[in-house]
Assembly symmetry: C2
Homo-oligomer: 464 residues x 2
C-alpha cells in the first residue's frame, strides 16, 4: 500500500484531519529524547476512540504495516522511534480521565493524558500517581515502558501501580485485563506482562491506576560527601537500616557543579545525596531524619542539611528533573549518550566506583553520573562533539562497560528506560538464550506479523 | 506407559527410593486443604535437583503424562489435586536456602522450603518474607498460587515479592527470569507471569524473594462493632484515611464466638476488627492508634482495645490463622465450603452485607464470615452435613452469589486462593472471551501437550 492510499484509509477510519503525512507531522514523530537516530514514519494518525484504534490495528495487520504508539515522545532509549517507518499512532487526543474512584485511591484514564496534567487534576482530591519519571510523560508511555523515577524507592514503578488495562491486540481485538480489586488471583497476570512491553504486544487504550494520598508531612535532606564512594556507602546504610525514603538520589561532583552554575542552589560542590521522606506525622519525620544524619555523619559527610522547606525542596527536584535539559544547554550542539543500569543495593557502591573510573578515563568529553540510588539505579550522561566514531567508541567505553559491570553484580542492563533500541544487544547476555527465546515466542503469539513497534526489544525480522 | 513402567523410569531418573506408587504415597498426594474431591496420582516422585526436575518433565512431555507440583498440600481451591492422575512432583526434598543476601533483604531458596521454617531461619538476620498465608505453605506453592494473607495490605502479595525465578518448562528446558535488582525493565516480565500460574506454565525450581526487616515496633487493635456493616465501614474509614496497617481483618459474630469458645480470648461477641501496625517509632504507632480509635468510635464501636501486647497479639493471630482447623474441629465429619472473593475497598461494606444476608438465609448449616478486610478480600466457611446435593446447593447459594456480587462491584472471583478447580466456571464471566482465549493461547505456548497441572485454571482438553 503506498503512502497516499494509506493516508486515505487512515482518514476514512478517523477523519480528514486526523491522519497525516505532512512533513512537519512526520518530523515531530521521528525522535524521542534519546540520542538514537531519528526515523520518520510514513503516516501519523490520531485516534479518538478504542474502536478507531482497533480498526487501525486491523488495517495495519492485514497490510503488514508497523504501528508505533506515541505519547509525549519523552522516552530515553528510542522506544517510540518508528525505526521501520509505518504508522505512528499518536494517543494525545485520547487524554481524558474516565473515572476517579477517590475512595479507592484509583483513577481510570486514557493513555494520552500527560502525567503532570493528571497529577495536577488529582491533587484536588488529595491523591497522586506516584511513579515519577521526571519528564511530563504520557500515561500510555509510562505503562508501555514501566516508567519509574525518583519516588519508586517507596511507591514502586508503574508496573506496581496498574490494576487493569484495556488494550487492542495486533489484529484489532479489544481486551480487558485485571480489575479494580487490589488483590487478584484469577489466572495469568496479563496486566503486568503488558506493562513494560514497550508497545510490542498490544496498544493500551485505557489504564486503571493505583494512586497514593498526597503526603501530609515531608522533609528533604541534602548531604554532601568527600567522594562518591562515601555517598554510595551512605545509600547502602540508609536502605539497610530499614528506613523507607520517598526518594534517595545520588549526584556526582560534575552534576552538582552544573546545577550550581545554572540554578544558584549553592550546593556543596562534592558528591551529594538528595533524600526525601513522606510521613503521617512530624514525629516520624524527626526520628527518620535523626537516623539519616547519624548514618551520613559516620561516613564523614562534608555537609548535612535536613528539614529543607517546601520551596527549597521543589527547587531541588526541579533541578534534578531538569538535568537532561541542563546538560544539553551547557553543551549546545553536542552529541550525548545516556546510560541506565541497576544493581542490588549492596552492590551500588561497586557500580558507582566503576562509573566514576570510567568517566575519569574519558578525554575531551563531559561526563555526569547520577541516579535513583535507593533503587540501585545509576545513570550517566556523556556530552561529546558529535561524530559517529566518537559515539561508537563511547558506547563501548561507557555503556558496554557499565552494563557488563551491572550484570556481573547481579543487576540489569536497564533499570527503567527499557530495552528500546539501545539495549537489545545486551538481552542475550542478561537473560540467556532459552529465556530470550521464550520472550520471542510470546511476541509472536501476540503479534504474529510483527506490526507492533517493530524493531524494538527483540529486534524482529523486518529489514531496516 | 503403564504404571510399573512409569515408576521404573522415574526411579531411573532419581533413585529407587524417590519414585513410588505405594498406596500411602498416592493417598498423601491426592487432596489439598480444600473440599474438592480427592484424586490419586499414578506416581509420586521426589526430585532433589533442577536437573532431575528437567529430566522428569522431558519424560512426561514425551509420554504425555501430567505433572502436578506438590509443596505442602495447603492450597484451598484444589490447586494441587492431580485431577487427571499422572505424576505428582513433590518438592519437599528441594528445601534449602541457597543464598541469603541479608544486606539486600533478599533470599534465594528452593521451592520445597516451608514458609514458617524459612522465616524462623531468617529471623536470626532480622528479616522475614512478609506474605503470610496462615498455613505453613511451601514457597513453591506460594509462588505458584501468588499467595497472600493478613500482611498483604502493607507488604503486598507473593507476586510483589519475587525478584527472580529458575523454572523448568514442560519440555525440560531450564530458564532463569528476572534478576536481583529491585528495578527491572529488560523485556517482558516473565517472573510475574509465572507467579500465580498455579504450576500450569512451568515448574519453579528456585526463587529469589524480597524480604522485609522485622518490625521494631508494632501494636495491635481489637475493635468490636454492633453490626458487620459498621465494622466494614470502619475498614473503609481506616484505609481511606491513608493509614498503612500491617493487617486489617474482619471477623463476624459467629467467627468471634467460635474463637472465644475454643481459645478463651474473651473477645466481645460481635463483629470485630483485628488491626496491626508496624512502625519505626513508638511515636508513629501512638499517632496511628489515635486515628484508628477516632474512626472506630465514630462508627459506634462497642469495644476498642489498643496497644495489645506481643503475647496477646500472637494469640490473636494464632486464632485467626487457625480458623480453618477450628471450624473442622467444631463440626467434625461435616462437609465444608470455603469462598474467596475481593472487591475495591469502597465496595467492601456492600460485599459484607451480601455475605451476611446469604448466611442468614441458610438453614441447617453453620456459616462463618471473615477476611483480609484491608484488601477488600472476604472469605466464608460453611459447614454442613456432607451430601452431594447439599454441596451443589450451597455452591449455588453461597459461592455463585458471592462471586456474582464481587464481579458486579468491580472485583474478582478469587482474591488469593487462585482458580484451581473451583473458580474455572467464573473465568469467562470475569475476563470475557477474548482475554480468556489469550490466556489459553499462553498456556498452549508454554505447554503444548497440556502436561503441567492439567485440568486447572483453564480446564484443558484432557478427559477427566
Amino acid at each position: 500500500m503506498n503512502r497516499e492510499a494509506l493516508i486515505a484509509e487512515l482518514q476514512a477510519l478517523t477523519s480528514a484531519q486526523r491522519a497525516s503525512a505532512a512533513p512537519a507531522h512526520l518530523d515531530q514523530h521521528s525522535q524521542d529524547q534519546s540520542s538514537h537516530a531519528a526515523h520518520q514514519p510514513d503516516a501519523v494518525v490520531w485516534p479518538e476512540t478504542t474502536a478507531e484504534v482497533s480498526s487501525i490495528a486491523a488495517l495495519a495487520n492485514r497490510q503488514r504495516i508497523g504501528i508505533t504508539a506515541w505519547g509525549a515522545g519523552s522516552s530515553l532509549e528510542g522506544n517510540s522511534i518508528p525505526v521501520h517507518g509505518g504508522i505512528v499512532m499518536d494517543f494525545t487526543h485520547m487524554n481524558r480521565v474516565l473515572a476517579l474512584h477517590a475512595a479507592d485511591f484509583q483513577v481510570v484514564v486514557q493513555p494520552g493524558i500527560f502525567y503532570k496534567d493528571m497529577n495536577k487534576a488529582l491533587a484536588k482530591s488529595g491523591l497522586f500517581f506516584a511513579p515519577d519519571p521526571g519528564a511530563n510523560a504520557s500515561i500510555g508511555g509510562m505503562v508501555a515502558n514501566n516508567a519509574a523515577g525518583t519516588r519508586t524507592v517507596k511507591y514502586g514503578a508503574t508496573r506496581d501501580n496498574v490494576l487493569a488495562l484495556e488494550v487492542v491486540l495486533a489484529d484489532g481485538q479489544i481486551l480487558r485485563t485485571g480489575c479494580r480489586s487490589t488483590k487478584q488471583s484469577a489466572g495469568y497476570d496479563l496486566t503486568r506482562l503488558l506493562v513494560g512491553s514497550e508497545g510490542t504486544l498490544a496498544l493500551v487504550t485505557e489504564a486503571t491506576l493505583r494512586l497514593a494520598p498526597l503526603p501530609e508531612h515531608f522533609s528533604a535532606v541534602v548531604a554532601a560527601f568527600p567522594t562518591t564512594n562515601e555517598a554510595a556507602q551512605a545509600v547502602f546504610g540508609i536502605m539497610g537500616s530499614g528506613l523507607n525514603p520517598a526518594a534517595l538520589e545520588l549526584l556526582d561532583t560534575a552534576t552538582v557543579t552544573a546545577i550550581n552554575n545554572a540554578d544558584a542552589l549553592g550546593l556543596h560542590p562534592s558528591p551529594t545525596l538528595f533524600v526525601e521522606f513522606h510521613a503521617a506525622s512530624e514525629a516520624t519525620l524527626a526520628a527518620e531524619l535523626g537516623m539519616v544524619e547519624e548514618i551520613c555523619r559516620e561516613l564523614q559527610c562534608s555537609s548535612f542539611q535536613s528539614g529543607v522547606g517546601r520551596a527549597a525542596r521543589d527547587r531541588l527536584w526541579a533541578a534534578r528533573h531538569g538535568l537532561g535539559e541542563l546538560f544539553k544547554r551547557i553543551h549546545p550542539g553536542q552529541g550525548y549518550l545516556i546510560t541506565d543500569v541497576a544493581v542490588p543495593i549492596s552492590q551500588y557502591a561497586a557500580l558507582v566506583a566503576e562509573g566514576t573510573a570510567i568517566l575519569a578515563q574519558l578525554e575531551g568529553v563531559s561526563g555526569y553520573l547520577f541516579g535513583h540510588a535507593g533503587d540501585g539505579n545509576l545513570h550517566s550522561h556523556i556530552c561529546f562533539a558529535d561524530d559517529a566514531a566518537d559515539r561508537a567508541q563511547l558506547e563501548r567505553m561507557v555503556n558496554d562497560r557499565l552494563v557488563e559491570k551491572a550484570l556481573a553484580l547481579g543487576g540489569t542492563c536497564t533499570g527503567e528506560h527499557g530495552v528500546g533500541i539501545g539495549k537489545q544487544k545486551y538481552m542475550l547476555r542478561e537473560h540467556g538464550a532459552p529465556t530470550l527465546d521464550l520472550m520471542r515466542r510470546i511476541k509472536t503469539l501476540f503479534d504474529s506479523n510483527d506490526i507492533l513497534n517493530p524493531g524494538k526489544i527483540l529486534g524482529g525480522d523486518r529489514a531496516a
